[in-house]
């Protein structure tokens, strides 16, 4: 079949079973958009900003486990998308992002809307391509999807000059991939696995440290089985929320900077850590030299570069988490006595009794934690939760009763304000039967507020719950605690009318100051199934607690903050 490069893009996406592309057109990508107009193999969702198009594709990918696809034009279209690429890179999200480029003959001439896109995307993608000949397009797109979704997943960027999309060549979509230099290890070393099981058997205070790699690897069922069978106390990272489920007896809670006292203390007291798909982020470990310093470490990860990067692993196991854990299960059944850790479990339970994750509710003002808990009570398993970045994100992670993997979608590695709303649009597109809730802040929501239009146009009814503290709250909290209350540039007293704002885009807005009003607003928005902004006035100076101050040790938590 002789077709143009632009048609090849369409045919390749269809061959990859892509059902939706999030994007934004422009000069250099117009040939491809012309073909999008003519086809009906997939839907194109027109975001209102390229960054949002990428976040929407990320949300779609995280909710469904499929590769997210986004399309943008050259120059400013591409540079707008860079934050999204970096976000997907940091959180290992499988994505294929296709950008237009100026024609080959103009590359390097400072042509209109020319920028060295592959030069910019190189450090924030898993791999990237500049396509110089349409003959290479089918192979490159096939490789892009393969590389994005295998090994440690990540975004792949494909930059296509305009003349290449016009070039006509024979099209055959390759059936197989030949990448001599890329062969991710998926199977764990059997001897290492045996040794690890023996180490667990010998330990008296073991702990599972569960990371986002479990979600990426679709291994939550296997991990839950292993945890339940061994009865070993477990902590989840921010990215792993939903792995075990809130009602699992072995789940202590989240660990890290805003993890629970019990989670962090247990980690500090453990004599063996089993890290699964986790990468020892500084927001998790606190002061590295004090992190789990009594523990021997088993580290299971698909990415060899993650193992012993920050903390030396005594039992490194490179492999896909799902495969490795599957192999651990029968061995664990044989060799590990689930009753053995009863005393350790009691110690952990006592930590939790001593300082449970809690907050002081109030009759006078809405507490943000209450709002999160209440969403959980009203919607629970029926909602998927995305967030922006800040205090609201931490409260959502702490207090929502997650019940399954892929229910929780947040920007962890990059911490991108503006992620939540477009991501929630992608989540809704991927999981239309769940309520898509974005727990956001009054600062973050304005960073991609234009997506109200996308959500309304495509009938993707995302409900944004704004925990409105009239502050860039997380920064304000640090200023309060560590900068003598000099609240430099964090006061957001100047606010739009969120109700009118939502209405002007064709959505619904709610102003909420009491518990009753919140219940009524959320129920109404869910029932009407519309795009909504629920502007919830919450206690202005609430702090996220407990807290490990930056660089501090996990066992030195600030449990309360007393205003001096």
């Amino acid at each position: 079949m002789q077709i143009s490069g632009a048609q090849m893009v369409i045919e390749s996406l269809i061959a990859e079973n892509v059902e939706v592309v999030f994007g934004y057109p422009g000069g250099a990508i117009m040939n491809v958009y012309d073909e999008i107009y003519k086809q009906n193999g997939f839907q194109h969702v027109l975001a209102r900003h390229e960054q949002a198009a990428i976040h929407a594709a990320e949300g779609y990918s995280k909710a469904t486990g499929r590769v997210g696809v986004a399309m943008i034009t050259s120059g400013p279209g591409f540079t707008n998308a860079v934050t999204g690429l970096a976000d997907a890179y940091m959180d290992s999200i499988p994505m294929v992002v296709i950008s237009g480029q100026v024609p080959m003959s103009l590359i390097g001439t400072d042509a209109f809307q020319e920028i060295d896109a592959v030069g910019i995307s190189r450090p924030c993608t898993k791999h990237n391509y500049l396509v110089t000949d349409a003959k290479d397009l089918p192979r490159i797109l096939k490789e892009a999807f393969y590389i994005a979704s295998t090994g440690r997943p990540g975004p792949v960027h494909v930059d296509i000059p305009k003349d290449v999309t016009a070039q006509i060549e024979e099209f055959v979509y390759p059936e197989s991939i030949e990448l001599e230099t890329y062969k991710p290890t998926v199977k764990g070393n059997a001897r290492q696995i045996k040794k690890a099981i023996d180490a667990i058997g010998e330990a008296s205070r073991p702990i599972f440290y569960l990371g986002g790699g479990i979600i990426n690897s679709n291994a939550a069922d296997e991990v839950r089985e292993l945890v339940n069978m061994t009865n070993i106390p477990s902590v989840e990272t921010l990215m792993a929320r939903g792995t075990l489920g809130a009602d699992n007896e072995n789940l202590i809670s989240m660990l890290g900077m805003h993890g629970s006292y019990a989670a962090n203390m247990s980690m500090s007291e453990a004599d063996l850590m089993i890290a699964i798909g986790a990468r020892f982020d500084d927001r998790v470990t606190g002061k590295l030299s004090e992190f789990a310093k009594h523990a021997r470490i088993i580290h299971i990860d698909i990415d060899p570069a993650s193992i012993s990067k920050l903390v030396n692993a005594d039992f490194p196991i490179v492999g896909d988490v799902k495969n490795v854990v599957k192999e651990m299960i029968p061995l664990a059944k044989e060799r590990i006595d689930g009753q053995k850790y009863a005393q350790w479990r009691e110690t952990v339970a006592n930590f939790d009794k001593l300082h449970p994750l809690s907050y002081q509710d109030s009759d006078e003002v809405l507490k943000p934690q209450w709002v999160v808990e209440r969403i959980g009570q009203l919607l629970g398993d029926d909602a998927n939760i995305t967030t922006d970045v800040g205090q609201h994100q931490m409260w959502a992670a702490q207090f929502y009763p997650f019940s399954r993997p892929r229910q929780w979608i947040t920007s962890g590695g990059l911490g991108t304000m503006g992620f939540g709303f477009p991501a929630a649009i992608g989540v809704k597109r991927g999981c239309p039967d769940k309520v898509s809730i974005n727990v956001t802040g009054d600062g973050s929501i304005l960073m991609n507020i234009q997506e109200l239009m996308t959500a309304v146009e495509y009938k993707l009814p995302v409900i944004n719950v704004i925990l409105n503290n009239n502050y860039l709250g997380m920064v304000r909290q640090w200023q309060t605690m560590f900068y003598d209350k000099r609240h430099s540039q964090t006061d957001l007293s100047m606010q739009p009318d969120f109700v009118m704002l939502a209405q002007s885009f064709g959505g619904l807005g709610y102003r909420v100051k009491t518990k009753e009003e919140f219940d009524a607003a959320l129920k109404d928005a869910v029932e009407k199934n519309v795009v909504a902004l629920i502007d919830v006035t919450v206690n202005r100076l609430e702090n996220v607690l407990p807290m490990v101050p930056s660089g501090g040790s996990l066992f030195n938590m600030m449990l309360e903050y007393k205003d001096k």
Binding site: R122, P123, K126, N128, T181, Y182, A305
Partner: protein, 156 residues
């Protein structure tokens, strides 16, 4: 942590973007590359890149792991036992003592390779440390220009 000199060989697919990917791993961490040589491996689609750098054990280990992760990278060796060679070209005014220079070059596997009206050029090829020594020794002949090739290396 102490910094050590390291020689790393990387076998890569010979394609346009590969050098920038590799250099980016160093520059993005603020690490300098002391020398870097690239040439195709005969009768293959691969090239060999030889990198000399300084760094702590941990940093180099991480860079090597990251090098492995690059898609067009086939193999990475961090050399322990190896033969290293480097070449240098040096330009002298012809007014200097030619026989002394020729004798010195010979001691470092080199010779005079070009003489023009005003200048002569000689080359030497030796292990990097000895090239350093040679370059110190010829200072008194007022070299006008020095070009070093960077290190190539082979496992023993």
């Amino acid at each position: 942590m102490p910094e050590e000199r390291r020689v790393i060989s990387v076998i890569v697919i010979n394609e346009a973007s590969v050098l920038s990917r590799i250099a980016g791993l160093f520059s993005g961490r603020g690490y300098n590359i002391d020398s870097l040589t690239v040439a195709p491996i005969p009768e293959s689609k691969y090239s060999r890149i030889t990198i000399v750098t300084q760094g702590s054990v941990l940093v180099i280990e991480q860079i090597i792991k990251q090098l492995h992760k690059l898609i067009p990278v086939l193999k990475v060796y961090e050399h322990a036992n190896l033969v290293e060679k480097e070449m240098a070209l040096v330009k002298f005014p012809v007014t200097e003592c030619l026989s002394d220079i020729a004798a010195l070059c010979a001691a470092y596997n080199g010779k005079i390779v070009n003489v023009s009206e005003d200048f002569m050029i000689c080359n030497v090829a030796d292990i990097p440390q000895r090239v350093d020594n040679f370059l110190k020794a010829i200072k008194r002949f007022h070299p006008k220009e020095i070009v070093r090739s960077g290190v190539v290396a082979m496992e023993i």
